[in-house]
Amino acid sequence: MNGTDHTIYREWLDLEAEGALPTGDRRRLDAHLDACDDCRAERHRLASLHALLAESRVPVAPGFRQRVMTALPEPAWEARRASGGRWAWAGGLLAGLAALTALFFGLSGGRLAPGASVGGALAAVGDMLVTAAIAGAGLLGATWTGVGLAVSDLFQRSPGTAVAVALLAVFLAGLTVSLLRRPRAAERPVDRRR
């Protein structure tokens, strides 16, 4: 070996063995190899190393594919898709209710309670929830009456708040769906557009 620094040629040889050496560098490498016995020997050693590593791969057990296919469970994503469909249906229903509510107040315009406030509407929603809790205790008939009264109260106080409550319900349903469908970070695919 002469006094030339061969480091760059060794790196190029390594890339060449991987098929990753750019054409321009390859020409310069070939010119160097014509005159350098050590680098030619290094090229052979590298090829030999690649062959040795390839040779040491273990064979896959016969029937492995079948083993995997037999063990495949019912795909969780089918359930998720069905679940997603249910959420979409529920969201659509809520959106429809919101639209009907808005329509109702549009058609009955003018009959709004003067001085209605957001606080009052929230209090009405609270009443509704309390009433629903009573239903849980078994007072089904009274509950429906109570719910009807609460909704009626809400509508009488402020149509705008009623619409807002309906839209909020739709938003929460959508948010829940998006959270349920979000992949776990550890298993998120890797960006290949690097």
Binding site: H44, L53, R65, P75, P189
Partner: protein
């Protein structure tokens, strides 16, 4: 006709063609098993974990984003599964570099054939030497060697998977192979 892309096969599975997943298994089984074998150093366990990885990927297939590579996703799940197994073995987290006191005497035969008694002996010698040479690499190099030479991932895929700059991947693989060359010098042809 060109074979379908990974992404097309994934879509086919999601559309109800279960056999398309078998094609994905066929396409990646050797690479995944070999990659896992180099991390776990146990052929049977590598197969078991590979199966788990395929099942796990199947279960999450609807979360695969076709803008990304299926192979890097698969190997990331494989890498995590291997780390879990190693943790369960009560080794340290960083212990893809194992101390191996218990395996010093273990012999590894190359699967490919040099026939005859002498050939078999040479296979055992070389298999054991390769095994020890790779196991003796620092972890950062060993993992990349396993991904490149056994997982057969491209440099770009490795860079994505390991979240490393491409230049760093090239440099580490170069250094790793230099170390292997020294360790395996007697088996290499000038």
């Amino acid at each position: 006709m060109a074979p379908p892309t990974d992404e097309a096969l994934v879509q086919a599975v999601l559309d109800g063609d279960r056999d398309a997943f078998g094609d994905l298994v066929e396409r990646y089984q050797a690479r995944l098993v070999n990659y896992l074998f180099r991390l776990l150093r146990d052929v049977d366990e590598a197969h078991d974990v590979a199966q788990e990885v395929f099942l796990k990927v199947y279960q999450a297939l609807d979360r695969f984003d076709p803008r990304f590579r299926f192979s890097t996703w698969l190997f990331r799940v494989g890498q995590n599964a291997a780390i879990d197994v190693i943790r369960k073995r009560r080794l340290k987290l960083v212990s893809l570099q194992r101390s191996d006191e218990g395996e010093e005497g273990r012999e590894w035969e190359l699967p490919s054939a040099e026939r005859g008694p002498y050939g078999a002996l040479r296979n055992v010698e070389r298999g054991t030497a390769i095994e020890r040479a790779i196991a003796g690499l620092p972890e950062e190099y060993r993992e990349l060697i396993a991904l490149r030479h056994y997982g057969e991932l491209s440099y770009d895929d490795i860079a994505s998977l390991k979240d490393m700059p491409l230049g760093t991947v090239k440099n580490k693989l170069f250094r790793g192979r230099q170390m292997l060359k020294e360790k395996l010098a007697e088996f290499l042809v000038d």
